[in-house]
Symmetry: C2
Amino acid sequence: MTCYNLALIGFGGVSRAFLELLEKRNDELLEQFGFRLRVVAITDLRLGSIVAEEGVDVPDVLAADPGNGGFRRLGGSTDARNKWIIHHVPADIVVEATFTNPLDGEPALSHCRWALRSGKHLVTTNKGPVALAAAELKALAAQQGVAFEFEGAVMSGTPVIRLAERMFGGLEIQGFEGILNGTSNFVLGRMESGLDLGAAVREARSLGYAEADPTADLEGHDVRLKVAVLANELLGGALAPDDVATTGITALTPADTAKAAEQGLRWKLVGSARRTPGGGISAQVAPRALPLNHHLAGVSGAANAVSFDTDLLGPVTVSGPGAGRVETAYALLSDVIAIHESRTR
Amino acid sequence: MTCYNLALIGFGGVSRAFLELLEKRNDELLEQFGFRLRVVAITDLRLGSIVAEEGVDVPDVLAADPGNGGFRRLGGSTDARNKWIIHHVPADIVVEATFTNPLDGEPALSHCRWALRSGKHLVTTNKGPVALAAAELKALAAQQGVAFEFEGAVMSGTPVIRLAERMFGGLEIQGFEGILNGTSNFVLGRMESGLDLGAAVREARSLGYAEADPTADLEGHDVRLKVAVLANELLGGALAPDDVATTGITALTPADTAKAAEQGLRWKLVGSARRTPGGGISAQVAPRALPLNHHLAGVSGAANAVSFDTDLLGPVTVSGPGAGRVETAYALLSDVIAIHESRTR
């Protein structure tokens, strides 16, 4: 039996859901794949750090709270000793789920570098490091002989990156277009029903679909990072986020949505990229008024979708959740399974 | 370098597209996967049989026609010597793409049995043998140590069976619902525009979406076979097609579609299956009036889709072509690639 030791960097909603998932599924993972997972360290900005070589006590760490002493009360320390833990804890896999500054990818990017440099496999749900530094991190992983998986960077656990990689052998993906941000998609749907942008955003916020500051969602910055990730992974590009021409939805008015409806069209914020005849890649994020029979027009609410344009099958579209604690935790689990499979083949 | 010798059983549109695809992609397959494919035998009811151990002459066999002597003129024989060829030609992989009687799966089912019994890998696009005898054929393949792949049995080359098998490790598929027949979906769409069933069927026929006798499409018999295949593959069932309660769309009238539209609904012919609390599987094919924001409501024209209901991600939907020569030929290629990968891991 193989047992992988995990270090969780960041212990927010996704990491907690991941830990709960492991508790529930460990026997099934053993039966289905022949491995067990054991969390030997956790760090978190609010809770501190804990190391337990025999595995953390799951109910204890889930109950830890800044108000009750965090991990310190469990024998850990008050500070999130990310660098030390990533380097020195004998983990096989570092699970990076902190946060990311879209400009420089930090602090997640440093966590990724430390993990790979210290010879540990790395899985992350953070699109920042992937959008900004995938090539560097992949080279580092290859050099160290470890794996770097990041299915959760786009559309949470809905298989997109690995699907394109594994399900389309023998054909060519010529481009893609996607609805990659649930907040803006929800807001556009509500504007179709007559709300103005402000009212639609307030509703999204009250339902938990939008953050306090929804700028990154509405201005297309979030989608831009995902387009860069997909263009590089699916089309073999080397794009930086700045290479993706980006327009958000904040200029759209109820009059625009009403006019589109009259013409049998529906506004969607579409992130897309395509191979150009010269061998390059053109990538953009922009609102587009799609005909109702377009394969992305029916993607409603907070759902996400990517349509791959393939030479032999035409468009093939996958839609599913674009966010969510459990859904993103599953992305981490699918990454760990992928690492196991790549090691045992 | 690995070279797989193929015997093509049936040389209709799909097999021809497959042969053309191999010609075009052989160098890329070698580069990407490290193998080459060589067609060493073809049999066809109209053209006869040809065997060429060094590989058939592709332009010659593509130009063969019953009017110009078929394969006999190329040194072959006038009769389709399926049984002899499957048993005695030194092929590694038998590519079965003949036709299938939905009642007993013949003649395709016999071809499948012969191929596996003679120790050859088998790929097929025929849903009949898979719907009627997958368990028997899989047991035979396991006993002989060969592979049996049939991605093309459902939704042509759109990854569905293999996607569910490979992309959802660690979660549970609790059920699925799908639009699995392009003809009936096209007809329903045209009925929404006000045509009656007869006129919609005539239009489908004139566009090549419907066969001369569209009964199997309109009465749900085609979908029933696909539901049985998916229920068995995705949910671990042991259903026969007769276990799938089936109602087609022929009782629907323009008044029904108009009334649905008034209520914000849209009729779709949905094939579905679901685990029942007792550990069984309930499966059916029936027209359903779906709300417009349902993940299958936007699947229009001749497109197909399957929505997997998963415990961790909720519904994940894949849509793409459900038929087509090149699209189904790609299913065969993806099966061959899967065989290669399973042998070289």
